[in-house]
Amino acid sequence: MHKLLMTRFIPVLLFLLITSTATAEVYHHPVDKITKSTADHTKFPQLKKNFKSGPEVTKACLECHTEASRQIHRTKHWTWEVPMKDGKMLGKQHVVNNFCISVEGNEPRCTSCHIGYGWKDKKFDFASQENVDCLACHDGTGTYQKLPAGAGHPAYQTTTQEKKTYKKVDLSHIAQHVQNPDRHNCGSCHFEGGGADAVKHGDLDNTLLKPDHSLDVHMASGKGELNMTCTDCHKTEGHQVPGSRYEPTAYDRHGFDYPLPDDFPTTCSSCHGNAPHSANKKLNDHIDKVACQTCHIPQIAKQRATKMWWDWSKAGKFDDKGKMIVKKDSTGHPTYLTKKGEFRWEKNMPPEYRWFNGQMNYTTFLTTFDDRGIVQINHPDGKAGDPQSRIWPFKVHRGKQPYDTQLKRFVKPKLYGPKGSGAYWSDFSWDKSITAGMENAGLKYSGKYDFIETEMYWPISHMVSPKEEAMGCVECHARGGRLESLGGFYLPGRDVNPFVEIIGFIVIAGTLLGVIGHSIKRYTTQKNMEQEDAG
C-alpha cells in the first residue's frame, strides 16, 4: 500500500498539479516588436542615412506618414495658440505667466520645448512641414534631447550651452527606434515646465518617470503596478492630445467612455464612471460638488519641491566683487539668483481649493487691470451653488513681476539674448529689457514700470494617491480644515448657525441650572423640615 502511494499516486498527483497550473493560464502572444507595431523602422532604407539635421529626419518620416505634419499643424503643441470663445487668444505664444513671463522675445530659449525646429524669432514659418519635430515625442531610445537654447534643435555636434555639455545625437539610430510617446517623451517638456524639473505644475515632475505606488497609483512602475503612460488618459487621435488646461473639463457628466466615448477622454470618470465608490456610497454624493482630484490628490509636489514664489523685483543684485549672487537652501534649491530674483519652494504640501466650472479667466498682455491689489493672471471661474462648479485643487504660484504703471498692463521683458540686445539676463536693466521686449512684440509701453504681485492657478490632476491614502472626511469636515476659507455653502462639521448654537446653549444651560436649583431647594427644604420635625 505504502509503496503504491509512493510510486503511483504521489508522482501522478504532482504531475497533474504542475501541468494543471500551466495549462490553466490563458495563452497570450508574447509582447514584442511584432505585437507593438506593423512596421519595424530599422528595416526602412530611408532611415539608414546619416542625417545632418532634424528637418532631414522629418522629411524621411513624411515619405510614409504623408499627412503627419499637416495633423501636427492643427495642434496647440505646434501653434502654441488657443483661440478662446470670448475672443481672447491664449496658448503659450500669448499668455502671461509669472515664471519667465512671456515666450515672445525669448524664443530660442523657450522654444526648446516647441515640437519644431528653428523657432528663433517671430519670423518662424508655421506652415513648414519639415520643421515639425517628430522625434521629440517619438524618440524610443531616450537619447534625443533638444538644446536648452537651440530654438528646438538638438545638438548636431557636441555642444556646450549654459555650462552643460550636450553630446551629439545619433539621428539615424533614433529615427530607426521610434515609438508611441511614453512618459519620458512627454516629460522632457511637461515635467520640466518653467525651465527645470518640478518648477511649474506641482503635479508633474521627473519623479513620475519611475513613480512608486504612493506617488501615483496609475503610473506606478513597480512589479504588478498599472504602469500607465500619459497617452493612456490623454488618448490622442490625429495627434490631437486631449486634456488641455486652457479648456479643462471640470465636471464630466458623461462618465464612462466605453462603449460611447465623449469629447473628454481624459477625465477620471472616463474610466471610473460617476459613481465609483462602492464601499461608502455617501462618497458618491460628493461627486456633484467635489472633483475626484480634491480627495484623491491630498498632497502635491510629493517627492520633489515645486516653485511657489518668484519675485522678479529682487533680481539684479550683485555681490561686493560685482559677481552674480546664487543662494541655495539646504536642499539645493536656489532661493536667490541675480538673473531671476527670489524664489520659494515647497514639497509635499496640500494644494489650495477653489470652486471651478471649467472656465479659466486669463489676464493677457492686452488686459488693463486694477493695480491696487494682487493681480490674478488666471483664475478659475465658479461658485458654490452653481451646478457646473466643483471644488478643485490648485497649485497657486505667486510672485512679483514687472508691469506698466501708466497703461496698467503686463509687460513682456526680453530676458534672453546677447549683451547689448536689451536682454535682462545680459544687460540687467529692466527699462531696456521691457522696451526691447515690447518693441519686438509691437506693444505699447509708457516707459514707466513697477513690480506687482500676481497669482496663477494650476489645476491639479496628476500624482493620484492610492485609495488608502485618499483624504479622510475630517480634512474638510472640521473647523480649520482644508476648506476653511471656501465660503458660500454649508459644510457639516465646519459651519454652524449662530442662532441655533445660542438657542441650544440657552436650552442646555437653562435646563442644567433649573435642575441644579431645583435639587438644591429640595435638599434644603427637606433638611429644614427634618429639623422642624426633630425640634
Binding site: 456633484d288 462639521g493 435646563t511 433649573g514 435642575v515 427637606q526
Partner: protein, 202 residues
C-alpha cells in the same frame, strides 16, 4: 408603601434601547457637528447613520406595540388636560418642597401623570419623528434634489436637525432629573429596570 407592576418587559427593553440609541446619536452627532474630536468624523458619521436606522426601527416597533396592545390608552386623558398639567407643574414648583403627596397616584391602570403624558406624547409623535425626518432628508439629500427638491434647503435642514438635537439634550437632562422625584430618589429608575415601582400608599 406598596409595589405596583408598571412597565411591561417590552416597554423596559424599548425604553433602554431608545435611551442607548439617543445617547449614541447625540454623542456622534456632536462630533459630526465639530464640538469635539474623539472617534473621528468618519467613524462618528457611520455610527450616527447606523443608530439613526436603529431609532427608526425602534420607534416603529413601539408604535406597533402601543397600538396592538392598546397601551396607547395610557396617554389619553379625561377632563381638562391643561388643568391637570398645571396641577402637576404646581406640584414640581411648590408641593414637592413641602413633602406634599404627588397629585396623581400611579397605578397599573394609570402610570403616567398628565405632564408626562403630554411630554412623552409630544416627544414620540412630534419631536423624534421630526428629528428622524430631517435626519433622513439630510442623509438622502442628493436623491431628494434629484427628485426636485431645492438644493438650497441643505442648510436649513441641517440647522433644524441641530436645533432639535439641542432641544433633545435639554429633554434628556430634565428627564434624568425627574427620575429622582419619585417616592424615593431611585424608585423611578428601579421601576424602569425591574418593572416594579414603590409608590405611596393610598
Amino acid at each position: 408603601m406598596r409595589k405596583v407592576y408598571l412597565y411591561a418587559r417590552f416597554q423596559r427593553f424599548w425604553h433602554w434601547m431608545q435611551a442607548l440609541i439617543i445617547f449614541a446619536l447625540l454623542f456622534s452627532g456632536m462630533e459630526i457637528h465639530g464640538l469635539f474630536k474623539l472617534m473621528g468624523y468618519e467613524a462618528a458619521f457611520h455610527m450616527h447613520n447606523y443608530f439613526a436606522m436603529g431609532l427608526l426601527v425602534f420607534i416603529l416597533l413601539a408604535f406597533f406595540w402601543y397600538i396592538t396592545t392598546g397601551d396607547f390608552r395610557q396617554y389619553l386623558t379625561e377632563g381638562n388636560l391643561l388643568d391637570k398639567i398645571l396641577m402637576q407643574a404646581r406640584y414640581y414648583m411648590n408641593g414637592i418642597f413641602r413633602n406634599e403627596p404627588h397629585p396623581f397616584k400611579k397605578n397599573e391602570i394609570s402610570r403616567l401623570n398628565p405632564l408626562q403624558r403630554i411630554t412623552y406624547l409630544m416627544l414620540t409623535l412630534v419631536g423624534l419623528p421630526a428629528q428622524i425626518i430631517f435626519g433622513f432628508i439630510y442623509y438622502y439629500f442628493n436623491e431628494l434634489v434629484a427628485l426636485g427638491m431645492s438644493p438650497g434647503l441643505l442648510e436649513p435642514v441641517a440647522h433644524i436637525h441641530t436645533l432639535l438635537a439641542y432641544l433633545l439634550v435639554g429633554f434628556v437632562i430634565m428627564h434624568i432629573y425627574m427620575t429622582t422625584t419619585g417616592h424615593t430618589l431611585t424608585s423611578n429608575i428601579k421601576a424602569m429596570v425591574t418593572g416594579w415601582e414603590e409608590v405611596e400608599d393610598d
